[in-house]
Amino acid sequence: MRSLDRPSGGRLGEFEVLYRAEVATVTAFFARRTRDPQAVADLTADTFVEAMRSFVSYGPAAGSERPWLLTIARRVYAKHCERAARRHDAARRDLARQMLDEDETEQLTDRIDAERPGRELLESLAGLSELDREAVEFVDLAGLTPKEAAAALGVSPGALRVRLFRARAKLRKEGGKDV
């Protein structure tokens, strides 16, 4: 699809390429965290709004777009959880509820359904720290290299490998998950 609003000139064209390449990854990231289609839509939108705002000044280096976006997605999700913890979530949903039509909701529900194996995989790691779970998620589900995942998670590549090893060992021990 081309933009309906204006030509993708300037750096907008670059961002459009990034968006089309990575929107499914970002949507999947949130679909592994919530089964509410509206929340997936809102969080995906928030991520790309933030990415768009910082693209000119702090855009990613070539080849590092996905880790950059997932870093933003993590931050967006952390804020979302903080809001939920402060019990402001109901008001937030009120603000957002009218946004998805039935087709869009169905599409996102399908996406959430498709992420069920990934969600179950991460749920099976519930005993580990969030960083350990995200190490598995970013490398085994989102397709980042360990180096990219380390950058996205703000840890050293060595630390990332340790976390990845620990998480995978837990999965093997508990039988079942082949990663």
Binding site: G9, R20, V23, A126, E130
Partner: protein, 219 residues
């Protein structure tokens, strides 16, 4: 690419794309709206025809703060153009026997209601129920049913060009017994949402068990 992704891109370009499109050039002063704002506001403005039939309850020398119109099919069109009109709009809805209220989104609000929409979101790692295919199918059906029900209860209408008036068509008979439809109102800042008044009032919906809260906390 799904229609959600296409629409999101279209919204992103419209609301935030100008800076990127003009990267390196002078930034246009054209006001932009956020992804949520157009629909958070209901995306709605009254038509001249509806305005003509509206019950205007403010001084004739100033634009109406609100309007409540009973339509021939029994639905009610509610428009809020100024937050000062919320109380009178609620009184009018109560007088008409419509189980719908308007609440203002405000900081410091401590009122609470029982939300009758989707279940609360759980932070990552706290999903307690097993995610089975059967459960998921049920949930999917429930989500779709809820959305269908909501569209029966209330839908936005857009009538005036530009960004300035908000209207919701409420069907009182579609509101579930015992529930209250709550339309939350918030004044949208003039800088980014300038209309004829220099500002606009956004209306969005929620459904509550029993009475709805008198206000909604600012997120």
């Amino acid at each position: 690419m799904s229609s959600f992704e296409d629409r999101l891109w279209s919204e992103l370009v419209r609301e935030h794309g100008e800076r990127l499109a003009l990267a390196g050039a002078r930034r246009s002063p054209r006001p932009r709206r956020s992804w949520r704002a157009p629909l958070a506001a209901g995306g709605v403005v009254l038509t001249a025809a509806i305005v003509a039939g509206a019950l205007l309850l403010t001084a004739s020398t100033s634009p109406p703060a609100y309007a409540v119109v009973v339509n021939p099919d029994g639905s009610v069109t509610l428009t809020i153009d100024e937050l000062i009109g919320v109380s009178a709009a609620n009184a009018r809805l109560a007088k008409l026997g419509v189980r719908a209220r308007v609440a203002v989104i405000e900081a410091g609000c401590t009122a609470r209601g029982v939300h009758a929409g989707f279940p609360p979101l759980l932070p990552f790692g706290m999903q307690r129920e097993p995610v089975t295919g059967a459960v998921h199918a049920q949930e999917r059906e429930r989500v779709l049913r809820t959305l269908r029900d909501e569209r029966q209860m209330v839908r936005p209408v857009k009538v005036r060009p530009g960004f300035g008036g908000i209207g919701m068509v409420i069907r009182p008979a579609a509101i579930p017994p015992g529930d209250t439809l709550l339309l939350t109102a918030r004044r949208l800042s003039s800088g980014r949402h300038a209309g004829a008044r220099g500002h606009a009032v956004g209306l969005t919906m929620g459904l509550y068990r029993g009475p709805a809260p008198a206000c909604v906390p600012l997120r």
